[in-house]
Symmetry: C2
Subunit: 482 residues, 2 copies
């Protein structure tokens, strides 16, 4: 029996210590964690492969992504400017009233709840981006493992606790829990929880969002709920690069058996190129072998969605899924006219897996209607020649409103972990488009600003001290310095 009160009480106590730990110490802790994870690579990888059905190469890469991400946050902390230190010095001579000294910076929110994702057993799970950005911000994490990979999760949690022990931090800055929906709900409802992060289905994310808002004290919810990541293609571009683009599209669609948040499940193709593009992608699809999905539940949901879509007469099937081996995520692709697509929003619902819908548009009016009707997305990709782009500025203007990341080349999968990444788009792709769950700025999700007015200089945090002992970039009287 899990006692959430005592877990949160320990977490809160740990927070009152951990929030005051310097960036340098947190940075060293994260570096140590990255090192311990690397040292345990040979035991972590086989567990994750076994529990996720993902190939070893992919899991090895994902562990590299995980430690790379940890190092990014370590660097961010070492540099230190991320706290947005802002100083408006006093002006005792100001008339009619003297001006007080006010200094503002970001401060951690408190203990936060993180839910693991099934599709990234490492990079979006136990020591994934949500956990690490919260720990970097100074927030203890209460982590609910995804039931699809319990052993992997326990092993990684062990590594985190080794690193905490080495750093001499309270062990309660990270708590690893396993359990079902009730535990998850209990975590979200607990009054000590100050935020929650989640990557998964729309149904799951929305349920947590609603629960968090029904609390006596509502808390921020960062739910990344996936999207269909449409690609808009134009005639000249397709004409010129038909085969490489067909290959790129199918490669991105079927990467990881279509189980990424950013697989492109929707592609808009001009009528003039539709037949040629269809032929090209059909050929590519034939080369893609079926592969096992993450777990039977996900495979079942995939085939249920496909079955429903097969009942819709608006669709013409370029390739039907082969469901002989149910766990295998067989690719599938259907075609629909833009006019039919526009009539029912069910056609833009995400089918988690390697299924895509190719929508054939006739003219600019249809394109603009599509842009208007499109739900919020993590990414939108535009494949157009330079001279085509020039005629599509209004469309681009509309599409900016529908996504967190707009691509003009390449494919949406392969989300870079850097400073400029934005992995969070308008609802329903996430519950908070003001946040990103990938990249350095993910840290800001777990903070709020605090201002100190006329605080005695000896009490000021280092980030706000007059002589800037951290050497960070700060806003002084409205100007960047340092």
């Amino acid at each position: 029996m899990i006692n959430l009160d005592s877990i949160f009480s320990a977490s809160k106590e740990a927070f009152l210590f951990y929030k005051n730990v310097s960036g340098k110490e947190k940075s060293e802790f994260l570096e140590k964690l990255a090192q311990i994870l690397e040292e345990n690579r040979s035991s972590i990888v086989p567990l994750a492969v076994k529990e996720s059905n993902l190939p070893e190469g992919r899991i090895n890469g994902e562990l590299g992504r995980t430690t790379g991400q940890i190092k990014l946050f370590s660097n961010l902390l070492k540099e230190g400017s991320w706290v947005e230190a802002t100083i408006d010095p006093a002006d005792p001579a100001r008339a009619p009233l003297p001006k007080a000294d006010i200094r503002r910076m970001l401060t951690p929110l408190g203990p936060v709840v993180v839910f693991g994702a099934s599709n990234f057993p490492l990079a979006f799970s136990t020591a994934g981006g949500d956990t690490i950005s919260a720990l970097a911000a100074g927030c203890p994490v209460i982590y609910k493992a995804h039931p699809a990979h319990p052993e992997t999760s326990r092993k990684v949690a062990d590594c985190i606790h080794q690193a905490i022990l080495k750093a001499g931090f309270p062990s309660a800055i990270f708590t690893h829990l396993e359990g079902g929906i009730e535990i998850g709900q209990g975590l979200v409802k607990h009054p000590t929880a100050k935020a929650l992060a989640f990557t998964g289905s729309h149904a799951g994310g929305k349920a947590l969002f609603d629960l968090a808002n029904q609390r006596e004290e509502p808390i921020p919810v960062y739910a990344e709920m996936g999207s269909v990541n449409p690609i808009f293609t134009f005639a000249h571009k397709l004409e010129k690069e038909l085969l490489p683009l067909a290959k790129a599209f199918i490669g991105s669609l079927t990467l990881g058996v279509g189980q990424f948040c950013t697989n492109p499940g929707l592609i808009f193709v001009p009528e003039s190129q539709a037949k040629a593009f269809e032929n090209a992608i059909a050929a590519e699809l034939n080369d893609i072998a079926s592969a096992p999905m993450l777990h039977p539940g996900i495979a079942q949901a995939y085939y249920d969605s496909i079955q429903y879509l097969q009942s819709r007469e608006e669709l013409r099937w370029v390739k039907v899924a082969d469901s002989k081996h149910l766990l295998n995520g067989s690719t599938a692709l259907a075609e629909i006219s833009a006019s039919d697509w526009l009539k029912d929003t069910v056609f833009q619902k995400e089918v988690f897996g390697a299924f895509a819908m190719m929508v054939v548009y006739k003219n600019q009016d249809e394109l603009l209607a599509i842009a208007e009707k499109l739900h919020g997305q993590l990414t939108i990709t535009i494949w157009a020649e330079a001279e085509e782009l020039k005629t599509q500025l209004y469309l681009i203007n509309l599409l900016e409103e529908k996504c967190g990341r707009l691509l003009f080349k390449g494919v949406p999968t392969g989300v870079e972990v850097g400073y400029a990444m934005q992995h969070g788009g308008p609802y329903p792709s996430t519950t908070d488009s003001r946040s990103t769950s990938v990249g350095a700025f993910g840290i800001k999700r777990f903070t709020r600003p605090i201002a100190f007015q006329d605080m005695p200089f000896e009490l000021l945090p280092d980030a706000l001290k007059d002589d800037n002992p951290l050497g960070i970039t700060r806003l002084m009287n409205g100007k960047f310095e340092g």
Copy 2:
């Protein structure tokens, strides 16, 4: 009959233009607006005085605050770095995969709804901080006037439309509406609305928050719902500065007939100084004349709250409110022991008006229990001698978790409009402690990040162009430049 669909449709169309307007042009527009408001001072001020019952001196000052605020945002736009431009350049040579060019900046959310506040007919109303920060961000505003000052609101709206006309912007970037609760609810529910800002009561703010979260697409709600802004006092400090502190406290409490979000309605006093402090503030209170409150509804609510508190035997009344003239906000002050105060959270409920509760504490344990029990506040003030502060580091650590601004001198009223101001604290003082409704960073409430990947250079917004034509400070490969 107000047709919200056509209003939002015009607002959305205006947005698709206005979001692309340069910071320089928006800055000029705001400067023009400040100028027009000043030119209309002689007609605005008498209207606001008549409709708010506030004295002319205060309203004159508030107009200055309003135009000062507009100029702050104008300067912010002129400088331009607020968009958080972040560039991770491409690295085509990276192995195993080339790195794409990713550039991120803040982009406006879309049309937003702003509700006027009754207690600041100018600075938190029609051309107040919420409206101006949204317009500065690039968001059209649909403004619902507060019914307490319709004529003032119409006049100021006229000034905004004059400035829009001069700037050549679409008039729908600002829409002035009047109406009751139904109009307000209609605005919040409308699918085109992308955020809302509100300053007012807890009941009002919470209702809007719930409504916004029940939408098909939930939207951010920035409701500033007030707080009791406790002051923690310590024995040596009171001993040394009894009379000036009593004067400062009563001055801040009764400023504007106690109708500020930051009036201190709660003060914690050590037992050793309780009698002396009580005598000192009682003397100060006698010097404060009753003055009319904003409108009869607010006065009625004030006296209703006082009447309820008078039924509570835990309280001892230092001064009872004189309700002979109901519109007059007569001061009132009651004393309670910390042990009684801790037993019922009703004793920390805001009474909007010039009422304060003086809580007498016996020891450190009580102080820590108070800090634990305290609800989220806009501000907390600590009055202590340097050597007392040294012994209160743990208390300060706890109190940081309960407020947006922590003061060590002076009083919480007189909220500076600057860069470092944080006017937004943990719930229930606001619905979003990550935001501020006063100061330059209020602009960020109406934005979200967008990343452009491999965008052709000629399409990039100026803020993200290679040669930095705006000359702003940007994060380049994780380092500040410019």
